[in-house]
């Protein structure tokens, strides 16, 4: 991160420190992320088939209730204090799925409850997920705008 210029002394220490730093078990972490992330998606698939069989949803429209249901599961797991343990094990496996998005909103909401519902819960709910919404919306705006303009000008 630190792109600042470092003094030779600092550079030297950085090298020394890196020798002692515990290496992140990247391969193991990736495997765990794969298994847990895959399982969450598998559950999501089961939920969407559930909505297709028993409710009036098609392959295309089942996505919405599936996402909502997964976030509901996420709320329960977060509330009972399980999701953070899954997260420590799975890393991105539980952070990348929509349940991780739900977890980031819900955990912030629960955490700041002691500051009241307006300033605490309301004010902090999106403190982690806010950047996801910002960059999602802005990049979607840019992408959609460019594509629409290109279509209008007949390039596409």
């Amino acid at each position: 991160m630190g792109k600042k210029k470092m003094t030779p002394e600092q550079e030297q220490y950085k090298k020394l420190e890196q020798k002692h730093e515990l290496k992140r078990p990247v391969l193991k972490n990736c495997l765990k992320a794969f298994l847990v992330g895959g399982t969450i998606c598998l559950i999501g698939q089961a939920v969407s088939y559930f909505y297709m069989y028993f409710f009036h949803f098609t392959e295309q429209t089942a996505g919405n209730p599936t996402v909502a249901t997964m976030i509901f599961f996420s709320m329960l797991l977060t509330g009972f204090g399980v999701y953070d343990h899954i997260g420590q094990f799975a890393g991105a496996g539980s952070a990348v799925p929509i349940t991780g998005f739900g977890n980031s909103v819900i955990s912030a909401a629960i955490e700041h409850r002691t500051e009241g519902f307006v300033l605490g819960v309301g004010g902090n709910m999106f403190k982690l997920a806010g950047s996801v919404i910002l960059f999602g919306v802005f990049s979607a705006f840019a992408v959609a705008l460019i594509k629409t303009l290109l279509i209008m000008w007949g390039v596409l």
């Binding site: 220490y13 972490n29 977060t78 997260g87 955490e111």
Partner: protein, 338 residues
């Protein structure tokens, strides 16, 4: 009296009359649980916020230490305390309840030794006859401020450290009867050192140079050898910080024996507790010293120890603004008076 560049020698040997440690549920499962005076089985401790629980921990540690010294809080002339929360409110709120004239300190995780050094100084020069000092931290309150919500499923890397839920306090007096009692002999005040590291999930690595600097300064100022101490214990360097410090000291010509060079962050928890690199937080060195280590000294296991508490002086804001982490370390030596 000032000795060397940055050290004090306390000729009047302020006495550590009594000390106490309070901890949370996670510490109750730790390696030194039996040395805690009070252990809570719930992080909330019957309060309605973690910050209040944090305040309660310090109140309890101080009250217990005062009681163990056979005194009342009205006998205390000053209280020196600090913690990691914004504007050190838990310590100040505890001071409000206790009603002792109060100095609020901030030295991040080095606060425990900053307090002990200053308290010793005040006693040594007759600035007071009875002083209480302490430091505390609360895992959930600190995580909330510095990192993510505790329920958030973010993965902590192996370099991360676990903030201790606990408070430690000690009562210092100018008691004339010193024989066999624990006294503070000297203190070395560290300078702020920044080696450019900026990963908040690797505090130990960032703090190691500060610890090494203070340790080197201590031996230079006091002109003693490391072997003078039975134990040199650092605050909360954790696995990475400790091994980096050993190497840094080696370069300065100070060989550290692994038996007599320990770290509170590595002493407090069991090996199988999920704390990654070890414990940290202002309560880490405070509980291990004022609980476990002083007990061991009373039992006669150690005669002279040097405690080097280390602190990372960052804030969530400074980290987000891509500032590196400035660090500090203060050392205090404690001996059994002959």
């Amino acid at each position: 009296m000032l000795k060397g560049k940055q050290s004090w020698v306390f000729h009047n040997s302020p006495v550590i009359e009594a000390s106490a440690a309070a901890g949370g549920p996670f510490e109750a499962k730790g390696k030194v649980a039996k040395d805690f005076d009070i252990l809570h089985d719930d992080l909330w401790m019957g309060q309605d916020s973690y910050e209040k629980a944090h305040t309660l921990l310090l109140e309890e540690a101080i009250s217990t230490a005062v009681k163990k010294a056979g005194l009342t809080r009205q006998d205390m002339q000053f209280m020196l305390a600090g913690d990691l929360i914004n504007q050190i409110t838990p310590s100040s709120f505890a001071a409000r309840t206790l009603g002792i004239p109060y100095f609020g300190l901030f030295g991040a995780c080095s606060t425990s030794m900053e307090g002990l050094a200053l308290a010793s100084f005040i006693i040594n020069y007759g600035g007071a006859r009875k002083v209480v000092t302490g430091a505390s931290s609360h895992n959930a309150a600190v995580e909330k401020q510095f990192r993510y919500p505790t329920e958030y499923g973010g993965q902590k890397p192996p370099t991360a450290q676990w903030t201790v839920t606990g408070a430690g306090a000690a009562v210092l007096t100018d008691c004339k009867e010193k024989q066999g009692k624990l006294v503070t002999k000297s203190a070395t005040i560290g300078k702020v050192i920044d080696m450019g590291l900026s990963d908040p999930f690797n505090m130990g690595g960032a703090m190691a140079p500060a610890a090494a600097d203070t340790i080197v300064a201590h031996f230079k100022d006091l002109q003693v050898e490391p072997s003078y101490y039975d134990l040199i214990v650092t605050g909360d360097l954790g696995k990475i910080g400790q091994s980096a410090t050993v190497e840094l000291l080696q370069k300065e010509g100070l060989e550290m024996d692994t038996k007599s060079f320990k770290d509170c962050g590595l002493m407090i928890y069991q090996d199988d507790q999920p704390v990654q690199s070890g414990g940290s937080g202002a309560g880490c060195s405070a509980t291990v010293l004022y609980g476990h280590l002083l007990n061991e000294m009373k039992k006669g296991k150690y005669k002279r120890i040097l405690v080097v508490a280390t602190g990372a002086l960052l804030s969530p804001l400074s980290f987000q603004q891509k500032e590196s982490i400035p660090c500090i370390a203060h050392a205090v030596s404690i001996e059994v008076h002959p």
